[in-house]
Subunit: 292 residues, 2 copies
DNA sequence: AAACTGTCTATTGTAGATAAAAGACAAAAA
DNA sequence: TTTTTGTCTTTTATCTACAATAGACAGTTT
């Protein structure tokens, strides 16, 4: 098969949710805009909805016949894009499995393992190489440089440089800048989660990313903004596979964030820098602990 | 054809040079180590040398029959790897040609233009995307963000952060670290070129890269070291296509380097920082001037 | 006129195939 | 014993093909 129709399936599932919420479906271009896909895909979705007798469809007349049932949805496994599958599979191998630094990575073997073509694996590795965890020997294999202590230290060193710079820019943002409103929303969420930490501590990971990305964005520097992709992927998988003391760690981090946010809102560069340093230091410690 | 045999041709040419210098050829594995290719390629080279009656070859006996002539070499155009060809072709389009920011980049069209398959173009674009000049719309085209004033400012902002940090590390390197010897060699080359600036000013570009890479390497941070790839590619093509006042510009930069090097050798962090800032400021100005 | 639909074309994402290049292993030579 | 060669297998780099998806345009509907 040349291309998985995951875009279609994923959009179809979202369309079913939409169908459950709204009484009628809008026009094809509008639906395309809502779901973020082309009209070609929208028409494929509508055709499928008709087949399942969920709607009748004749030109612009789209009548809902019944509410969608669980059986109408495509299984979630089928809606993951191939590159997501490869990424997860690869990260599991190198973070969870006992992958030694210096190990060779073999495109063909990886592809066979994941059950996919070599092209996609190769492209994934090229994209992934910018994270500094692997390196290519031309005409030969890739080398795993490994998720080592050095890696973590180098990563956090740059992170600190960039975030300090971003925090300085943030403090200088004009009063009416939308980032302040977003910061307030993020702050409120912190209070919400802290208020029910035992049940909601798992939401921290996502909130953490949202907070730091907001900060980095204020640097208006694409290299700084893009660098957060590396941090995000590392922390994402780190959170996923290192659950020891998650509740305490996240609770502490939330408190640190709140102090940091307060300093930002006070437009106090010195205090912000201090709070930033404190938080990043403890984030680094957490990361380092998970390594050995 | 599945794969160009550029590795073979390029290694063959280098082997001819070797043949001109040394009387006899070493063993296959040794030759492989010298030329940096596998024994498979070495044996292909030996076979070709025999065909051309340059040597006789029977097991480990390799006798040189005659000196290589220009006609024995493969044309240099045939020794460029495909990714180099794509890179040059692409950079010419976006830097030299009137490529507007926001322009769409089309894999198929690029491939047709360059006369290559789409896979290679695609892989090139993925690799190139880390330089922040292009961006992918999934399932659709790439967008050229353009070599704009903003790009140059963002690039140099990070460059300054990284190089200041590197300069600080450099000053702290122990006396016996090999970087000091390399710095002396680089300093001597500066004097050489300045002594004959009218004829040799073109050598600056390469020396510049060598100097800054040496500095960045002392950060011992892969992200800082890797970032220099972006600077290098930008300046490489910048030097190539903007020759106005090259002699004066390079002369000035060489002087700045010498002051910078002197400060480093004096182990004086304050003076080094000052010299670093001064040099990077003028490098930024040069780059910005070439943009509009 | 503005937006929508039907239809068609072009491009992307991915698999599969193949020559080039790397690399493994045993037998041979030093 | 160590290195080298002969032979064979595996992997990479690249092309081509094709379904999925995006996108263009003209005719139709509001």
């Amino acid at each position: 098969m040349a291309k998985q129709n995951t875009v279609f399936k994923e959009a179809f599932n979202r369309c079913l949710k939409l169908l459950a919420e709204t009484a009628a479906l809008p026009s094809e271009p509008e639906l395309g805009a809502v779901l973020g896909v082309s009209r070609t895909t929208i028409r494929a979705i509508l055709t499928r909805l008709e087949e399942l007798k969920l709607i009748t469809w004749d030109k612009r007349a789209k009548a809902v016949l019944r509410q969608p049932e669980p059986a109408d949805y495509y299984p979630v496994e089928e809606t993951d894009s191939l590159s997501d599958i490869i990424e997860r599979s690869f990260m599991r191998r190198i973070l969870a499995g006992g992958a030694e630094p210096g190990m060779q990575i073999n495109e063909l073997e990886l592809a066979r393992d994941i059950g996919t073509g070599t092209t996609s694996v190769r492209e994934f590795l090229i994209r992934f190489s910018r994270f500094g965890l692997i390196e290519k020997r031309p005409n030969s294999h890739w080398i795993l440089k490994g998720f080592t202590r050095e890696f973590a230290l180098e990563l956090t060193e740059v992170r600190e440089m960039f975030e300090l710079r971003s925090a300085h820019s943030f403090v200088a943002l004009p009063e009416e800048h939308p980032a302040w409103a977003e910061l307030s929303r993020i702050e409120a969420l912190h209070h919400d989660i802290l208020g029910d930490i035992d049940n909601r501590y798992k939401e921290f990971s996502e909130l953490d990313e949202r907070f730091h990305r907001l900060l980095h964005k204020s640097s208006s520097n694409r290299f700084i903004v893009d660098f957060y992709d590396i941090i995000a992927i590392v922390f994402h998988y780190h959170y996923q596979w290192n659950k020891a003391n998650a509740r305490e760690r996240n609770g502490r981090a939330l408190e640190e964030h709140l102090a940091y946010i307060a300093a930002l809102r006070a437009r106090d560069p010195v205090k912000a820098e201090e709070a930033c340093r404190r938080h990043l230091r403890s984030a680094r410690e957490t990361l380092l602990q998970s390594i050995q």
